[in-house]
């Protein structure tokens, strides 16, 4: 059994065998940032935040797949109603307003948490919940109304794609509301610990991203779909 360390050592220690040139020794130069270049691992907050950011990007790719299906199947109305005939733009405007305000209030709640103002934080989160729930109620009412009028998701490919895309966003909002309540409970019972702060950071990333997706939804689906 040959021992690895028994092999002949090389004459010269080659620290740069690929001739990359090393201007930044460990911990120096502009690349000395932690987690970026040579400074060692990042702090936990950055690791968690960045990881969740990557997850959000994957979620946006999933929405892109649903958007693609919608774009392709838009014209597949099978003799049934088109978007222009079905969409209630006033309702959509209301939904958009509610979601935007909930995003704003969520941001304020984040500021409050950083300033350790518990009451304002909980109030902000509660308002976020209310506006988010209002959005969902309007959307649920719209869906039920469409089904009543015989324009449910089984009527045509266009409607299948519509219900799935908008419904997927709605499901994400619902999951977000559940998460929101959990965060309110966690801050109330455990106080402001680093891991709780990290989770609220992730939640606010999620909530703002949902509003960004909604911008795409109301533009591509509702507004462009209304141009008959």
């Amino acid at each position: 059994m040959t021992d690895a360390l028994a092999l002949q050592p090389q004459a010269r220690v080659r620290t740069d065998p690929n001739h990359l040139g090393h201007h930044a020794r460990a911990g120096e130069g502009h690349a000395k940032a932690t987690g970026r270049g040579t400074g060692g691992p990042s702090s936990k907050r950055i690791i968690v935040g960045y990881g969740f950011w990557i997850f959000l990007l994957s979620d946006i790719v999933m929405f892109a797949a649903f958007f693609s299906a919608y774009a392709v199947l838009q014209t597949g109305t099978a003799g049934g109603p088109t978007g222009a005939e079905l969409f209630d733009l006033q309702n959509v405007a209301l939904e958009t307003g509610f979601l935007l305000i909930s995003s704003f209030v969520c941001g304020v709640a984040g500021l409050a948490l950083a300033a350790k103002r518990h009451l304002i934080f909980q109030a902000g989160m509660a308002l976020t919940f209310l506006f988010g729930a209002a959005f969902l109620l309007l959307e649920a009412r719209e869906f039920l109304d469409l089904v009543d009028r015989g324009a449910g998701p089984t009527r045509s490919a266009f409607l299948s794609a519509f219900f799935t895309l908008v419904g997927c966003h709605g499901l994400h909002v619902s999951a977000g509301l559940l998460w929101l309540l959990t965060m309110m409970a966690q801050v109330a019972t455990k106080g402001i610990r680093p891991e709780i702060l990290r989770r609220v950071l992730c939640f606010s990333l999620f909530w703002h991203a949902l509003d960004i997706v909604w911008v795409a939804v109301f533009t591509v689906v509702y507004l462009m779909g209304s141009i008959a």
């Binding site: 940032a33 950055i46 774009a71 392709v72 935007l100 704003f104 990333l205 795409a216 507004l223």
Partner: protein, 134 residues
């Protein structure tokens, strides 16, 4: 924290670099809210605006949508072009690339497929005859 330091640190996405002033933070969110609202109103308004050439309306909607997404990213998610945000922007750019490739590619491919392979569209839905499955 000095500007020099921004080269040597990293910021988590959603965090604002070195910002501890509540008033300044609130101001950022307010501006974001106002801009986003304006862009939303503009989108709805331009839909039936008679003074805009009709084929340009979808383009305008797209521009407003992208602008509003930018407003959300900058004012709500604090994504900046600073050196502390490089990784976050790179990740975002990667996501956008994939979305563009997937969405654009799929629409282009399926348009060609439909044009070549689907039976001509008529008023009533046609179900093509299907072979029996054994």
């Amino acid at each position: 924290m000095s500007l020099e330091d921004r080269h040597h640190t990293d910021t988590a996405p959603g965090d604002e670099y070195g910002e501890e002033d509540i008033a300044k933070g609130l101001r950022g969110y307010f501006i974001g809210l106002v801009l986003a609202s304006l862009l939303t109103v503009a989108s709805f308004a331009i839909l039936h605006a008679h003074f805009v050439w009709a084929p340009a309306i979808p383009v305008a909607l797209l521009v407003f949508a992208i602008a509003q997404m930018g407003v959300h990213l900058v004012f709500f998610l604090h994504i900046t072009t600073g050196p502390d945000n490089t990784n976050n922007v790179m990740a975002l750019a990667f996501g956008v690339l994939i979305v563009v490739l997937l969405f654009g590619g799929s629409v282009w491919i399926m348009n060609n497929m439909n044009r070549n392979m689907m039976p001509p569209m008529s008023a009533s839905p046609q179900a093509p005859a299907m072979p029996m499955h054994h």
